[in-house]
């Protein structure tokens, strides 16, 4: 069984970090994982995306044309990837910045105002963690406990940021209900 999710947004939204936290959680749960960033020529404020592959078998191709799920943090990302997602996949839309939807009927669309929720939790910059938590709660790609632990590990060197991010995580989970 293999699962893939594309995280996409603009540079500075913590896209690569969200992917890394998920990949780390899946690794801790004993899965094979691969985290593949976009590293082409990009400009500040331009697009940023990464693909996380989680599998119970060794991962073959790290290039995946049609990922199973999508987390879209801004409108260009949704427009770029929505049509490529496999039918039945979860598409998380950051409705704080995206007013449109995928226009597809065969996806599990989840609209979460990640920006507002993160601001309420203490800092709008944690929108990526809100979106990540809501996505994981809906897709169940990893357990929420593993995700929580992975956030603590990621911020271990800046422990003052842990409470904020855990708060963002809980709020994200609630938003997915």
């Amino acid at each position: 069984m293999q699962n893939e999710v594309m995280f996409a947004g603009f540079g500075g939204q913590g896209i690569l970090l969200s992917g890394k936290i998920l990949a780390h959680a899946a690794m801790e749960e004993g899965f094979e994982v691969a985290w593949i960033p976009s590293y082409g020529p990009e400009m500040r404020g331009g697009t940023a995306y990464c693909l996380v592959v989680v599998s119970d078998r060794p991962i073959g191709s790290p290039i995946i044309k049609n990922p199973k799920h999508l987390v879209a943090m801004n409108r260009p990302s949704l427009e770029k990837f929505a049509q490529a997602i496999k039918p039945g996949g979860v598409v998380l839309i950051n409705s704080s910045l995206i007013t449109v939807d995928t226009g597809r009927q065969d996806l599990d669309e989840l609209r979460v105002p990640a920006g507002e929720i993160a601001t309420e939790a203490g800092n709008g910059k944690a929108a990526n963690i809100v979106a990540l938590a809501a996505f994981v709660a809906r897709s169940k790609m990893v357990s929420l406990d593993a995700l929580r632990h992975s956030i603590e590990v990621e911020f271990a060197k800046r422990p003052n940021l842990i409470p904020l991010n855990i708060k963002a995580l809980e709020a994200g989970i609630k938003a997915a209900e």
């Binding site: 985290w35 593949i36 960033p37 991962i59 073959g60 790290p62």
Partner: protein
């Protein structure tokens, strides 16, 4: 030791330290700059040396100096940077000095692009520098194997007193995967007192060691080249490495691919298997010495009708595949470069269209 999630570039950097290499000289270039970024702080922790040269040419002669003094040393770069180092690599071969070079390939020719490519295959395996010189070349297909190959590279370089290259591509450098650094791959530098210029007092010797690649006497130069040739022949006998995948049963198509490309092929092979089509794969792990016998044997299997060589280049390794198959089966090349990696879907289509050519069988 538990696994950690690391970028290929970071894992390469850490693996070198675990292998006991405390000397790193480099000049940054995408897509491998994270190696230098990582070692800029990590070398301090282990009392090692990291020095950023003013150019790749300077770096390559820092490598020459350190290798001549008998210490483990390595550098990392990407395609155009490796071209600049090629003169010194030839000097290292001529002077029989061990060193490790990592080339995280990007698209070319010229300044090219920064996306993954396998366009330096011929350079690495056949034309790394002037004169009769060869590199020992290994190609990993993922982060774990990249780390292990770096750890193996140092003792191999010392065994042959010859530079060793790890040939990866941008995807392997940039991708994060779980990695561990096996303790059994740690090694201690082999005896260098017979050749290194590490000081006569230091090795309690009265004979002088001389490191050089200049031999003006034709006989002496010829003898030096014979010594090198013997080493390259020994590499072919003792250290060829490859992976055979799905080759136990019958298959009508054999794929030969390495690095990132072989992973993509494995996904295609798994999908084809579900559809009842068996395809074998030989994945060279050493590109020089090349697993000629393995490719030849797999191609000559009775069920096999066609050999496909798939690369992220305009057709380079295919020359070695043809040389190995020796006309026993038709060999077809397929590839792309510039950063577009052929997808599993493309390979499935290629296999099916090739099979259609052999319907009469």
């Amino acid at each position: 030791m538990s696994k950690v999630l690391m970028k290929g570039n970071e894992a390469i950097a850490e693996a070198a330290i675990r292998a006991g290499c405390l000397n790193y000289f480099a000049y940054p270039i995408t897509p491998q700059s994270e190696v230098a970024e990582y070692l800029a702080w990590r070398m301090q922790e282990v009392n090692g040396v990291f020095l950023q040269g003013e150019s790749e040419v300077a770096v390559s002669y820092m490598i020459f100096g350190a290798a001549g003094a008998g210490v483990r040393v390595f550098t990392t770069s990407s395609s155009p940077g490796i071209s600049l180092m090629s003169e010194a690599i030839s000097y290292l071969c001529g002077a029989q000095l061990p060193a490790v070079f990592v080339n995280i390939m990007r698209g070319g020719p010229g300044l090219g692009g920064i996306l993954p490519s396998q366009g330096d295959y011929l350079q690495a395996t056949k034309g790394i520098g002037h004169g009769d010189c060869r590199l020992f070349v290994m190609a990993p297909e993922g982060v774990q194997e990249a780390a292990e190959m770096v750890m193996r590279a140092f003792p191999l370089a010392e065994k042959y007193r010859n530079p060793v290259m790890i040939l990866g591509d941008g995807l392997i450098g940039q991708m994060m995967e779980p990695v561990e650094f096996p303790d059994h791959l740690k090694s201690v530098p082999s005896n260098k007192n017979t050749w290194a210029t590490n000081g006569m007092d230091h090795r309690k010797s009265k004979t002088r060691n001389l490191v050089r690649s200049l031999f003006l006497d034709s006989q002496i130069l010829n003898n030096n080249n014979l010594i090198l040739r013997d080493k390259y022949e020994r590499m072919k006998k003792e250290d060829v490495c490859f992976e055979a995948y799905n080759t136990e049963g019958d298959y009508r198509i054999l794929i030969v691919a390495y690095g990132t490309m072989s992973r993509v092929c494995k996904t295609a092979i798994a999908t084809l298997k579900e559809q009842g089509i068996d395809v074998g794969l030989i994945r060279p792990q050493t590109l020089f010495p090349y697993p000629e016998a393995a490719v030849r044997e797999a191609a000559r299997k009775e069920s096999c009708r066609h050999v496909l060589c798939i690369e992220m280049s305009m057709g380079q390794m295919v020359e070695d595949v043809e040389r190995s198959v020796l006309g026993a089966r038709p060999v077809k090349w397929y590839g792309k470069c510039g950063g577009d990696v052929p997808t599993p879907e493309e390979i499935i289509e290629l296999v099916k269209s090739t099979l259609a050519l052999h319907k009469s069988y």
